[in-house]
Amino acid sequence: MKQYGFYIDSSKCTGCKTCQLSCKDNKDLDIGVNFRRVYEYAGGDWLKEGEIYRQSVYSYYLSIACNHCDQPACTKVCPSGAMHKRDDGFVVVDEKVCIGCKYCSMACPYGAPQYNEEKGHMIKCDGCYERVAQGMQPVCVGSCPLRALEFGPIAELRDKYGTNADVAPLPSSLTTKPNIVIKQNRNARPTDDQSGHLANPKEV
């Protein structure tokens, strides 16, 4: 089976959200629905060194859409089968079948499935599989001004950039086996970190 994935370079990402917006524009998404979300993880403290205090404030960005997991939490719970993994590896909602029970969004630890109030069912990142089939890149990847996003067969991305898919605030990659490779920011914290917080909860 084919499997595509994303490479996310968190050391380059400045959190400009062009990826989020180009996707929103391309998919014509409403306010509050974001197929790609840029999470800002921030933390830090005052450190006492002798007689002086120094701060250790840090913050970094993580652009996350759907990771088209090998073991998707969403498809496992979906009662209608609308949420399914295609032969090309993309996890997609069949919008003609979905009943809008939101069970998938309860289960997904990456916030990928999103509820569309108007349509009455779930929608989500489909990896722009139609564009990919025509040999093009997903809209978000092409729009990144920092070239912090890459897309391709996950095996190739892993050959090129390694296999890391773990960084806070993401959950452990062992749970759903996400098809992403992450290059960490120099401030990156491990997945089980509790020192930071989500700095932009209303944006994701």
Binding site: S80, C101, K102, Y103, M106, N116, A168, P169, H197
Partner: protein
């Protein structure tokens, strides 16, 4: 508190009440301790049990974004616990309802009816099991623990036993022994429920993701738990009053008691849904 989940709060609490009381009443009916007249009266009173269950199913469709496609919920029967829940819930409703209809109309042989009753009770148990499994999602740490089955079973006991007693009183049953056993069992369930609540509140402090601390999700938790506990105790007081004054329990007393316990369990379920979080963001 997750008020927006009211359809699921209604559905789960009503279903647990219906199945819980059906198991008690079904056991009594199978034991053959009721006179023919009592049985007839109890069957009539059981109309309200199916009314509650029907109301529950109606509420559950309000949770769906596309209720007209509700039948698709059965597509993944076997692999999705939500499909299983709806399937066995429907079987329980169908088998139990059919048993009830035959009994009311006095059709079919006694043996066939008893068989149907036993089958409906079994479906009810499987339905409750599936309902628990729906919420044991490995990516939702606040649900994926023993407090989910405990909470659901305690609702079956508290709300279910009281509702069973209400229907028995409404049917003027002469099983005086049960009028003692049911409130005592209810009180035991209430004590367990309060202990479980305290344990769960302690357990919450150990559940964190990188961006969410379970103990901080519901900011008025203390207040909600106090209201819930007070309502439960008030219901118990009404439930016990006939035992103390040595009177027969009346529906006049048990209806408000049931309303109190129902609201109490409804709030508890709101807390349950409100505690949703994932291991991620």
């Amino acid at each position: 508190m997750a008020w927006h989940e009211w359809p699921l709060m209604m559905f789960t609490v009503l279903a647990q009440t219906s199945v819980g009381s059906f198991l008690v009443l079904g056991g009594i009916l199978l034991s053959g301790q009721l006179s023919l007249n009592e049985e007839t009266r109890l069957h009539k009173a059981m109309f309200f049990l199916w009314a509650l269950m029907g109301l529950g199913f109606m509420a559950s469709t309000a949770h769906l974004g596309s209720p007209l496609r509700a039948v698709n919920a059965l597509n993944q029967l076997g692999s999705s616990w939500l499909s299983n829940e709806i399937f066995f819930g429907s079987l329980f409703f169908a088998a139990g309802g059919f048993y009830w209809l035959l009994s009311i109309l006095n059709k079919g042989s006694v043996q066939a009816r008893k068989g149907l009753l036993a089958a409906a009770m079994l479906m009810g148990i499987v339905f409750m099991y599936a309902m628990i499994k729906v919420y044991l999602i490995d990516t939702v740490p606040t649900w994926n623990n023993m407090f989910t089955p405990l909470g659901f079973i305690l609702t079956m006991l508290l709300s279910g036993l009281l509702f069973a007693q209400l229907l028995l009183a409404g049917a003027q049953s002469k099983l005086t022994g049960l009028y003692k056993i049911l409130p005592i069992a209810g009180a035991a369930a209430a004590v367990i429920s309060l202990v479980v609540t305290v344990l769960q509140m302690i357990d919450l402090s150990s559940i964190n993701s990188a961006v969410t601390a379970a103990s901080g999700i519901i900011d008025n938790m203390q207040q909600l738990q106090l209201i819930r506990g007070a309502l439960m105790l008030a219901a118990l007081a009404l439930w016990f009053k006939p035992l103390i004054t040595k009177n027969k329990p009346t529906t006049l007393l048990l209806v408000p008691a049931f309303v109190l316990i129902f609201v109490s369990e409804f709030i508890a379920r709101g807390i349950f849904y409100g505690l949703h979080m994932t291991i991620g963001m």
